[in-house]
Symmetry: C2
């Protein structure tokens, strides 16, 4: 079994080759902090508009209060999306502040999807805290998700400008893709075979579309042309796919101490992630043995009371992981992460932007792709 740092190492090398002009880690920390500082007050005042008890539930979800209602300084996520939104305003030659309503709207849509997905997937933990449905029940998880989604459009549209209308249209398109992606992800769980292309499309919808929107929404609010906004969307979309490919690698071979998940996490959940579908599509003896094993696992899970294969020991997961690697699923996914990263960076050349902003966008991409887990 390989370690998380080895997986990161492969990509760090790739990233350094591709983006030697990137800003350093300290620079990225400043960028993220800047995005958080500018967008947090607007996000908070938007959430404050929610009727009770939804305002409290949302505040718990964002980590501003604990389950008992006391002020907290919980983990609200890395805030990559707000940083991207503000940078994209600067890419269009506008002040970062112009991107703030976009940054807030994207964060609201992101958190709407987390609230609903956690409920649908039955996930009990998020950002090291119990999920909202677990603490406040399914009805409030649905309602607060709905409310954050509506609030996202509200925050944008109350700008009342033509640009805000364009931005809302792009955000709506991204939201629909997010929903499509979750529907695909759920339907894949019940299918024996998923094509690599289908998996990439699902991950593009689930992860790529909203990062694409984050990376362009500030520019749209700043009056960028459709072509420039499209270039930034392309950067964000492929950045999302690169991130997801690495996430899929870590979901199988990641070190639990670093990822905070169980060993073989995605194998336990029988996810049709990229390494798995690539290995199944590859053909050859290892691919065929893997297919036979996974088909038997599906049968066992269907007939078990809990609907999972929790009784497996480490050895059995290790066998499956080894077959995925032998069939080439791991190598293909690493390569795909590098290819998507390269496509993301190349998209930046389609737009004329200040060199300093371009360097920051590359630095943020490096952070997203090689980030600490």
């Amino acid at each position: 079994m390989s370690t998380t740092s080895a997986i990161r190492g492969e990509i760090v090398t790739a990233a350094n080759e591709q983006a030697s002009a990137g800003v350093d880690r300290v620079g990225v920390a400043t960028l993220l902090e800047h995005g958080r500082t500018l967008s947090a007050p607007v996000l908070r005042s938007a959430v404050d508009r929610l009727a009770s008890p939804m305002d409290t539930v949302a505040a718990y979800h964002f980590g501003w209060i604990d389950a008992a209602g006391n002020p907290a300084d919980g983990d609200g996520g890395k805030a990559v999306r707000p940083a991207l939104a503000l940078l994209s305003a600067e890419a269009a030659g506008a002040p970062a502040e112009v991107g703030i309503p976009g940054a807030v709207a994207v964060e609201l849509v992101h958190n709407f999807s987390l609230l609903h997905d956690d409920l649908m997937d039955g996930d009990e933990q998020r950002r090291h805290r119990d999920t909202v449905w677990k603490v406040h029940g399914p009805a409030l998880a649905i309602l607060v998700g709905d409310a954050l989604f509506a609030l996202a459009n509200e925050v944008l549209l109350e700008q009342g400008t033509v640009e805000a209308g364009r931005a809302t249209r792009r955000l709506t398109r991204a939201s629909r893709k997010l929903i499509d992606g979750q529907a695909q992800d759920i339907s894949f769980e019940h299918r024996e075979r998923v094509a690599v292309e289908e998996c990439l499309q699902m991950e593009g919808n689930k992860t790529g579309a909203l990062l694409a929107c984050a990376a362009s929404i500030g520019a749209v609010l700043g009056g960028a042309s459709e072509a420039d906004a499209d270039a930034l969307e392309e950067y964000g979309y492929h950045l999302g796919l690169s991130f997801q490919a690495i996430d899929d690698l870590l979901g199988i071979w990641g070190d639990p101490a670093a990822t905070g998940k169980q060993t073989w996490s995605d194998l336990r959940q029988r996810k049709k992630s990229l390494p798995v579908v690539a290995a199944l599509a590859a053909g050859g003896p290892a691919s065929e043995r893997l297919a036979a094993l996974l088909a038997a696992d599906a049968k066992a899970a269907d007939s078990s009371e809990t609907g999972d294969i929790g009784g497996f020991d480490e050895e059995e997961f290790a066998t499956r992981a080894a077959l995925i690697e032998e069939a080439g699923g791991r190598e293909w996914t690493s390569g795909e992460a590098r290819r998507q990263y390269a496509t993301a960076i190349a998209a930046l050349d389609k737009m004329d932007m200040p060199g300093e902003v371009r360097r920051k966008l590359v630095g943020l991409a490096d952070f997203v792709v090689v980030r600490e887990r």
Copy 2:
């Protein structure tokens, strides 16, 4: 126990007094049919954009196919909202067709809320069919609801006009009120006392806000002034409150053969509807006896295994209904239905519109308020 036709009779009389110039029932049927015919193809093509299996699930919800996937001609609702949206375009001097994207967007938001509310409330039947969560599971009920909500904004915004941006902003505001109303409704179930004003506000959010949007969105798309759009919103909002007051009366005293619900339906669900909160607020011996009985019911429900009071016989519900009536809750609610209806019709005078359109809006209001159940 009074009959449904007696309840309708009270309001029919009121309606006829207020709106002797209203169009007749045949005219209303034509209006509703016209709204359905113009909006249905656009609604269908919007729903067709959803990724599989969400398109199928939505088609089932709208009654276009049955649970087995065969074409059906199910009840898709009365389509009052589309008719209102098209009429409101005509009120602003635009062709009815200008209101179509608004009609479709409002129907999409309405059905998004039905999908989520049925799941939250555990309702198993809607329009004489099993609800979506019952047939396709909770995850798809959440996802398809989310998708319809996103689609509503998409349909409006792809018009790409300033008017579409204004319409989307109003729709978003109405959607947030809808969500607030559902949150209030759920929280009221756990409270011993709810003020009449709180109940009216909740019903205004749950029923009034989207009817207000339906009644104005066509006008907004047709370029109406903010003042004219506000007048039409006021008409729709109070029409919604009048409808809801009658619905609350029917929820207690309605004839099951006519309403399609159980006898004492709202009492069985221990709803804090208008007659109940008005009776509790009235004071006096009947009000106090009612309060004591309902408090004991709440205790019994909390300690029962099913969480309800299903073991009650007809006599026990009849006692509660009689106390509500004795305390004046029924009379107050009837009066409130008439007052809200009058406010709705009066709002039409704040806007200069063709006489024929005004007559149709009054006719539609009569239909909504005195409608067959």
